[in-house]
């Protein structure tokens, strides 16, 4: 059987600029503000729906048809605003574009954010390694 190959996009949700909904006495450092946690209401089905809508808006029926079979959220952590999204290998750029064009979290939440794709990998193992590496780097930066 021919092997169906995928690409795994590691995406982070960044919050530049606007202050958080919570009020805190100290002003947060920039690192913490950028990488603040996402609301719990963002779960895998909601994000999936948002991506599909985005692809359909940008690339029409063709885009939606070609991307949807293998589209899947492998890992989503609202606490750290990180996600690993699986896409078909030939059309990962469509999903990437849809993510880049997202200006806010999907509708019930509607918080302005920036989705940044940090790494594209052919195996989920390497994508997980990248997430681990980034987490370690950010821990160091946050502690400074």
């Amino acid at each position: 059987m021919v092997r169906v190959k995928h690409r795994y996009l590691v995406a982070t949700f960044l919050y530049p600029g606007a202050p958080t909904a919570t009020s805190s006495k100290e002003s947060l450092s920039q690192v913490l503000q950028f990488n603040q946690p996402t609301s719990d209401r963002l779960d895998a089905p909601l994000l999936l729906k948002a991506i599909r809508q985005g692809v359909a808006e940008l690339f029409g029926d063709y885009g939606a048809g070609v991307v949807s079979p293998s589209l899947r959220i492998n890992y989503l952590s609202p606490a750290t605003s990180t996600a690993i999204i699986r896409t078909p290998r030939a059309h990962c750029q469509l999903v990437w574009a849809a993510l880049s064009f997202m200006t806010q979290l999907p509708d019930p939440i509607a918080q302005p954010c920036v989705v940044r794709v940090v790494r594209v990998s052919g195996t989920i193992r390497k994508a997980e390694h990248e997430v681990i590496r980034r987490a370690k780097v950010i821990i160091k930066r946050a502690q400074e």
């Binding site: 805190s24 990488n35 946690p37 952590s77 606490a79 681990i132 987490a135």
Partner: protein, 865 residues
Amino acid sequence: MWAPPSVVSIPTSKAFPNDEVNVARFVKAREVEVRALEEGIRSAKKSQMRRAFQDVPRDMRRRTASHNPRRVPQRLRNRIRKEMKDDNTPVASGKSGSGVGKGTTAWLRKDGIKQAKAKAKARKKKKKDDDGVVVTKLDEKNEDMDVDVEEGKEKKDLRLKETLLKSLQTRKPKAKRSTTLATPPKPPAQFRKRQIHKSWLPTHLFHTKRAHMTPPVEPLWRFAVPLTPTQKSYRPTHRASTLRGAVAWDMSYMATIALEGVEKSISGLLKAIGVGADHDGELWKDGGFGKKWRTGTRIWEGWVFEREGWPLKPIAPVVVVWSSEGKSDIDATDPTSKVSKTPSKRKVFIRIHPAGFLQLWQEVTRLAKVQKPSVSVEDLRFEIGSIEISGPGATETLQTALWPTQAPNSEQYPPDSPQAVWKILSSCINPGSLPNNTLLAFNISDPRLHHPPRPREATEPAASLALLNQVISAWPLDKTLSPPALFDRNARLAAQRCLPSQQSINRRKGAAKPGQYPEPRPTDPQIPVLLYPSRISGSWTVILPWKCVMPVWAAIMYHPLSTGSTPRFGGLKEIRQIAFEGSRTWYPGDYLGTAAGWDWELQERAVREKEWSKRPKGNRVAWESIDLGNNRKGEIGRGWACDWERLLLGPPTPPESRASKSTKLSLPPFQHLSSPIISDLLSSNPPCALRDITTSPTLFTAGIKLLTRGVPVPCARIYRLPTNNAELRAKWLSLVPTSSVLYKSKSKANRPPQALSKDVPLHLRRRALAAGLLAPVVVEKEIPQPGDKEYPTVPDEPDLIGFITTGNFNLGEGRGTAVANLLADRVLVANAENKVRNGKVQEKFLCIVREAGQGFGRLARWEVV
């Protein structure tokens, strides 16, 4: 469908309760994420279905392991059996091996096995039913019986030794009048039929299971020589010999000639065959290295020539060892010897490669009769074997394998003796750091008695190094080396005959205390051993009696190195590879001027022609259609060979048809010039011609390094710079790579763009970068490449000077190097002309190398090797 286990992620409400975002919680959330992901990766790996044969190291993996559990290392066998049972995989059983048979034979064999198993089962059942007593441990009675058997054997061994000693005392050895070539020992009946036209090395059974051997009908030098290990070992051998580990070879096919006689006659004989003929006979002077060598504390490595053939007719490189003088047992105990009146007899070993053995033997036997008093010559080819081991772990391996026998009366050896020095050398990693050409000789105990090896206690590195340095600088063995027992035939035979069987050794090991080696006994063989390090190749050579090679080989092969793994073994290909990587030549392949070298070349030629002709026409190189430029078509001579005849005789004149091959010369058409002589000739001022020394064609060995690109290959053609065509010569010279070519070029367009300095403001630098990216500056390559129109063509045939004998990518140097044989007179003519023209230094020693099937050549530099 199987889905990978998902990674758990914490919701934000748990990680940040009350929506507080602070550094501590932030960091904690990330840490939890990291741990969860790592756990996910681990569980994914475990849950992946991985069969046992996929967990086998790379060099043990086999395609057939999935059906036969025996083809997998022992530690995984149980797992594979379980997996195969779970999977219902059919187990392949008993289809390979000798005696398995097909059809009726196979059925009968299987039936026989079934019956034997049934019988064994019935016997066991009967035993159980008969006596209810279960024997759990050896009774005292049984132990005594064992000891009796041992004692009986011991007595027998003692008696054997006594008779040998007696024979020493009653019979004086006679000088042999007729010297005959040695015959190999009679092999066991099972293997006799395969050793009629060749003989096996003592470690043959080890090598056949692990290496490609010479084909049964085409042995090399009448020995079954291992050619290369079955596993891929080019890079591992390179690493083991230079970086970490060790490589060992069984060199028992090296021939040994023993000379016995008065020192004067032996010296006369050795001088006649050209030992020490160079360096103005310094070897024979009274003092210095020569004196040490003649007293037996040093070995001499060098070339040996035909009678009155120095310096142009070499036979082979040899190692000559004198046995040091000392009071031998015979003279001490035999009152009737006339030792006091006549000068004592000395013994000498000459070790030579089997390719040159016969020629040397004929010379030596003829010369021995001529000496007054005559020298007795003995052929010790099947009495003495040797092992060579090289690499950083070589000394460590030998320390484990060679244990000196205990001193009599259980004393300690004096600190000057070879045994004590050997112990101190354990911290020496590089045998090249020892004094040049030293040797050690002592008796060792059977290595099987102290196998398996135990990890050695760590000694203080500083103290042991200090001691080592002391020993190396003082080298006490110069004064205390006693005559090596290896020279004594009785000692060799006694060692071989007293070797206990593996069964008795196992019994002794079983009887010893747990964790202890068996006690040494007086009947244990005292194996005489001679070992010397080689500075050039960084290796140790161990010489021992033929039958004692296998136990020592096993101890070497199974020694656990401190750097991990065990020593590797090598074949002929690995010897050539290591010599090549160390920029050394290999006898006989690189010495066309010797008879053995010429034979080797003819052999290789036949092999290559066969390989070429067996390929279909579309898949092989077409020698006739190679375009050499300037309307020259066709390869020079035979493309698959180093066509030396063509070099000598030139292109065939028209009347001769191309089909008739040039006369196959069985005698070597060339002579060989040794490296010091050719170096002298090249550097002498005014340049002297070869005509002063000889008129027949001579070759010398040269090392080749390509200047720009390319990897030299065997049989490549080598040309000197064109002598007739000044224009072509200038073109070739312009290819010599010097950085001045580009930077000094007058046209600005050709100069590479200079990097802007840091003083230039950022925006200007950015502008330059953008401009560079949008319209990259193309630097016209002034140096033409092969395939361009300007690339110079290959010189004509009169400028052909030689061929490459060994060439490859040199892992030690990181570029392609080669060893070639060049025709001396053409090279000297070119050299003289160069001097006349006052050519620049960089023009010296340039040559053009063209692979046999290619149309273009590459510039290279050669030097005498």
